[in-house]
């Protein structure tokens, strides 16, 4: 744990190149915002300069408008929160109409997080985005713990994962990112399947299935009973899974889970992530993602790195 020497021995004024190419998508920097934690971009536009982001991943969208779960939908727990929003969304057409006009005015790649209740619906949603102007990529959500059908069931079964990735791949020409489910014993297996079936990149982790009970009423706090745990609490679990997934595949991995500050993002990159996404931290500090960008640049300078790709997979065992 010898920070002192590193800090002083290295040149301070190397220019740093933060740009990355993920799945064919050029990004200014490796810092994205995670699906469901940044709305459709406009919600945060008054709080910060969204054009500084590497990419915006919007809230999960399926074919038609979807109501999501009844409240209550979120509860704070030590080290984070448990949510069961249940993928409320405007559907493909509603998204295009309400949110894309704003996003198209901005200079930031838009990645749409998609989900379906069946193999066919996954394919349909993917296909529908072929006609939506301004979308830079798709993130395939097969890991949401908060909907009864679809979601996590696809992400925890190897055959279903293979089928849904292959089917969506057939239906889209956009860069395809598969968002893996964290609660499987062997993440490498799923990472390889997604890669083999044509995924251009992987993202992980989604929230961990969780539950909170109000001991006074003896009822679940969330109407959906089960929700997903996010925030600092899941960070060390996420780092482990990103490390294992990145070792298993050649396609880039996007690391997320409990990034609160730059160091957390750097950990993911050292473990093998080519990019990262800030989630829950947006709620707490709207400029958290910008602080992460600045923090990565400062770290690179301090360590004499010129390209952020030097960070990726730089773990020394």
């Amino acid at each position: 744990m010898n920070d002192e020497t590193k800090k002083s021995d290295l040149p301070i004024d190397v220019p740093v190149d933060l740009s990355v190419n993920i799945a064919g998508l050029e990004m200014k920097n490796p810092v994205m915002v995670a699906s469901g934690t940044f709305g459709y971009g406009s919600e945060y536009a008054e709080q910060m300069d969204i054009d500084r982001l590497g990419a915006i991943v919007v809230k999960g969208i399926c074919m038609d408008a979807w109501d999501g779960n009844k409240p209550s939908r979120m509860v704070e727990v030590p080290g984070g929160l448990v949510n069961a929003i249940g993928l409320q969304g405007p559907g493909v057409a509603g998204f295009d109409e309400k949110y894309m006009p704003f996003l198209r005015q901005h200079d930031v790649p838009v990645i749409v997080n998609i989900w379906g209740r069946s193999l066919e619906e996954y394919g349909e949603v993917a296909a529908a985005f072929e006609d939506v102007e301004g979308v830079s990529g798709l993130e395939l959500n097969i890991s949401c713990p908060n909907v009864k059908e679809g979601g996590i069931a696809f992400g925890t079964n190897p055959t279903m994962t293979a089928d849904v990735v292959a089917h969506v791949r057939k239906n889209t020409t956009l860069p395809l990112i598969v968002k893996l489910s964290p609660n499987v014993p062997n993440i490498a297996e799923f990472a390889k399947i997604a890669e083999a079936e044509g995924s251009d990149a992987l993202s992980l982790i989604n929230t961990l299935p969780a539950m909170v009970i109000d001991v006074e009423t003896r009822k679940p706090v969330l109407s959906n009973v089960i929700g997903g745990l996010s925030g600092s609490a899941i960070h060390p679990v996420a780092v482990k899974l990103v490390w294992e997934a990145a070792k298993a595949v050649k396609i880039p991995v996007i690391g997320m889970g409990g990034i609160m500050r730059a160091e957390d993002a750097i950990e993911f990159m050292i473990a093998g992530a080519a990019a990262v996404a800030v989630g829950t931290a947006n709620f707490i500090d709207p400029v958290a993602s910008l602080n992460v960008i600045d923090g990565i640049a400062a770290y690179m300078k301090r360590h004499g790195m010129s390209s952020v790709s030097e960070l990726t997979g730089s773990l020394e065992l």
């Binding site: 709080q47 409240p71 030590p78 929160l81 409320q88 500090d285």
Partner: protein, 268 residues
């Protein structure tokens, strides 16, 4: 950028579990609309703790004030924040109360700390009206002298009868409505309700507004995540004029809704 690093100018105990927080926050103060809220990062909590929303109680001379009740770990931690220290505050957020024209008598109805946004409302109304305020006991009836100083008619109800009449605040309101509708020149358009308090109270007021054919503006209190409309945690079932139901966001689409927009669900 709506995040402001404010300084705590005053932080004092009012009565019971209620406290007053005054912040030096020129930008938020300048923009404040009654019914809007600020989203506060509690410095004593761990890094991952969510912000907590509080209504604007006052907004004057570059400062804003919050009147809050200690109910859980966030407000308990906030209560330890020292005068002079920094507070990270976002806002003002949400759609506040629409300021009624001078032909309308505003009827403000408050439960507990619900008086906070209504006080800011009272200072902005063109016509003085009536404040109906209720609570469990005398300690829950806050700042009525301030309303009186503004020249407002104040009517109090407490459940235990320790202040004002004994019973619900809606009982006192009902009296007023009966008296007034008996008047010759009575028109439902002559008054509007502006209310903030627990859901049960708001629903009862909404029912009266709909039955009596006047407007009832209700400010909802929902647990929040982001406060800016991004997380979809704070939703309330609403209906549009066509009768289609949907989940609205209390933080962004509210916190103030007109009674007819809200669909109350029995389970909540």
């Amino acid at each position: 950028m709506k995040t402001e690093k404010t300084k705590i100018v005053e932080h004092s105990h009012l009565v019971g579990d209620y406290r007053l927080l005054v912040l030096d926050a020129p930008e938020i103060s300048a923009q404040a609309v009654p019914g809007q809220f600020v989203h506060v990062r509690i410095p004593q909590l761990e890094e991952s703790a969510l912000r907590r929303p509080f209504s604007l109680y006052k907004a004057e001379n570059s400062t804003i004030s919050i009147l809050y009740k200690v109910v859980g770990r966030g407000t308990a931690a906030l209560a330890t924040a020292a005068e002079g220290s920094e507070l990270d505050v976002m806002g003002p957020f949400g759609n506040g109360f629409p300021i009624p024209g001078s032909e309308v008598t505003p009827l403000l109805v408050a439960g507990g700390y619900g008086v906070a946004p209504l006080y800011l409302m009272a200072t902005r109304c063109l016509k003085k009206g009536v404040l109906f305020v209720g609570g469990a006991t005398a300690e829950d009836i806050l700042c009525i002298d301030e309303f009186e100083k503004l020249g407002w008619d104040v009517r109090v109800a407490t459940m235990d009868g320790t202040l004002g009449s004994q019973g619900l605040v809606t009982d006192v309101l009902d009296e007023w409505l009966t008296e007034n509708s008996a008047r010759n020149d009575y028109s439902p358009a002559g008054h509007e309700i502006f209310a903030c308090g627990p859901d049960g109270m708001l629903k009862a007021l909404g029912d009266r507004a709909i039955a009596g054919e006047f407007k009832g503006w209700l400010s909802l209190d929902k647990h929040m995540g982001c406060g800016v409309g991004a997380c979809l945690a704070c939703v309330q079932k609403l209906q549009n004029v066509g009768g289609d139901e949907y989940w609205g966001r209390v933080c962004k689409d509210g916190p103030v809704f007109e009674s007819r927009e809200i669909v109350w669900e029995s389970s909540e």
